[in-house]
């Protein structure tokens, strides 16, 4: 396996986790590509134009994306279910247009000149984020998240600040996506706004669906399987999206809760909202 493939596996695991974190509080978001783009551009501008070192720049990119997630999430999380899906798709579509129209960051041509990220940065990021998420999954915070995801009214009645928990999870997911974006940009050294189109978000969500919606390792496994396996077989490499889509379709038919799910699975975000 080439280092490139392993690096992109790391990025995809981080993106899957960014979706998983927001979903842990019941918000299914298709906005991760927007936050990835924000993190990538902020980090790229900091290293290229301000001369920052890689790591602080990526952390600042992640922080900027997290802040953006907080600001956008505050109004966006008032809607839920299918409406939240639409709103976050709107965010991803809008981010591409915004970046394409800011000439200072290269417009639709793109932003270049970033350098320095290696496979080991990706691996380290996965280990650090994974360790943090594992720690959260064993802390009381996980039970707070579970309560908010399963029933917001009950959680609120129990004294949980539902808005703050959902917003925090959404912003934390954005932060991880932004950090991943920073690393991604500094590995490729050149990105265009279209590198962060809504398909990136769709794939990130599908990784989580594949692995299991409320399991930390499921999300990572889904991303790793769908990044690495198709590259090993010529036929699958050529038909990557088809193989991926068929896997998702069949999986949702036979095992709607994903591959790895220990706890009671909910994809429903909030019970009664459905697609009404």
């Amino acid at each position: 396996m080439s280092p490139d493939l392993l690096f992109f596996t790391c990025i995809n695991i981080l993106m899957a986790w960014s979706v998983y974190i927001a979903l842990a509080a019941g918000a299914l978001s298709f906005g991760s590509s927007a936050f990835m783009a924000a993190g990538c551009y902020v980090a790229g501008l900091l290293t290229v134009q301000a001369g920052w070192p890689l790591l602080p720049a990526c952390l600042a990119g992640g922080a900027a994306a997290g802040l953006l997630g907080f600001l956008l999430g505050f109004p966006a999380l008032r809607v839920r279910g299918i409406y939240l899906i639409l709103t976050t798709i709107g965010m991803s579509m809008s981010m591409v247009v915004v970046l394409e129209n800011i000439d200072a960051v290269g417009g639709s041509v793109g932003l270049g000149g970033m350098a320095g990220a290696t496979l080991w940065h990706g691996v380290a990021a996965v280990m650090v984020v994974g360790a943090l998420l594992w720690w959260v999954s064993r802390s009381p915070l996980q039970r707070v998240l579970d309560a908010v995801r399963e029933d917001e009214e009950v959680a609120g009645a129990l004294g949980i600040h539902v808005v703050l928990v959902k917003l925090g999870a959404f912003a934390a997911g954005a932060l991880v996506a932004g950090f991943a974006g920073g690393l991604y940009g500094h590995y490729l050294s050149f990105v265009r706004p279209d590198s962060f189109n809504v398909l990136v978000s769709i794939y990130a969500v599908m990784f989580v669906i594949l692995g299991g919606v409320n399991n930390l390792w499921g999300a990572a496994l889904g991303a790793a399987i769908m990044t690495i396996v198709p590259e090993q077989v010529a036929f699958m490499r050529e038909w990557r999206p088809t193989v991926f889509a068929l896997t998702i379709i069949v999986l949702l038919l036979v095992r709607p809760q994903g591959l790895l799910t220990r706890r009671f699975a909910t994809l429903k975000a909030a019970p009664e909202e459905a697609a009404r």
Partner: protein, 295 residues
Amino acid sequence: MLLGQIVNGLMVGGLYALLAIGFTLIVGVLHRINFAHTEIFMVGGFVGLVSAQAMPSITLALVAAFVVGGLLGVVVERISFRRLGTEEAAITAALSSMAVGLLLVDVVHHVWGTEPLSFPLVDALGRGSFELAGVRFVPVQGLVLALTLVLVAGLWLLIEKTRLGRNIRAVADNPTAAALLGIPVKFVGQQVFFLTSALAALTGLLFALRVGTVNSDVGMGFALKALAVTAIGGMGSLQGAVVGGMLVGLLEALAIQFGFGPLSDLLVWGFMILVLLVRPQGLFGSTFHGGGARA
């Protein structure tokens, strides 16, 4: 120039409206979003291309797009929606249909490549062009406009005046009561999927005629904006889909007129987000369909 752009905007708005009607009918009847809709729209252009290459007849191309689109819709219903029929599975079904969309795009990429292809019949429909208030129109745009109007009117008649339309409205209103009255709810669902998907493919062909090319990108671009139109008009509302389509078509045309052309996507999605935040049921939605959107 302004008048020409307005006419142009209403023409595009008609295409948005046709697509949005498809989304909104499925939301109304099944409380589901069919994300494969956008890619069936895209496939419609390619079906038209194949048909036009085999035989240079516009009628045949339209019929082919209608039939293939409708059959695809029935398949989507079978694999993404039938098994995931419970209220809790609404989002799962939406994700499954999204995967179907990814699959359709990949198949098209393998057969026709990723580059846009020019559509052969456009020239045969008349070369000349005429000018209206400073904006140039080609005859095929007139055909697209006429067909759009016929389709919207036909759909309205179908839903308001026919037995099928009555069944659809009954199931949308209350599936349990409809079933008790002897309406075959599952069959109505299949019919709605056939109808909306056939319409999506037909709209895709009209779009291809209008721009003169078939392109595998239009599903994620143009057609996804019709989903924004649906939300703006109100999920499940037919007049919302038509008025929303016209509004968004006009908005984009005015953006071009006043020099904000590159930002038009941002305006559409921003408009949708604004509408969802202020009025989640959309401009024309009943509180019933928007009620669940809020806490």
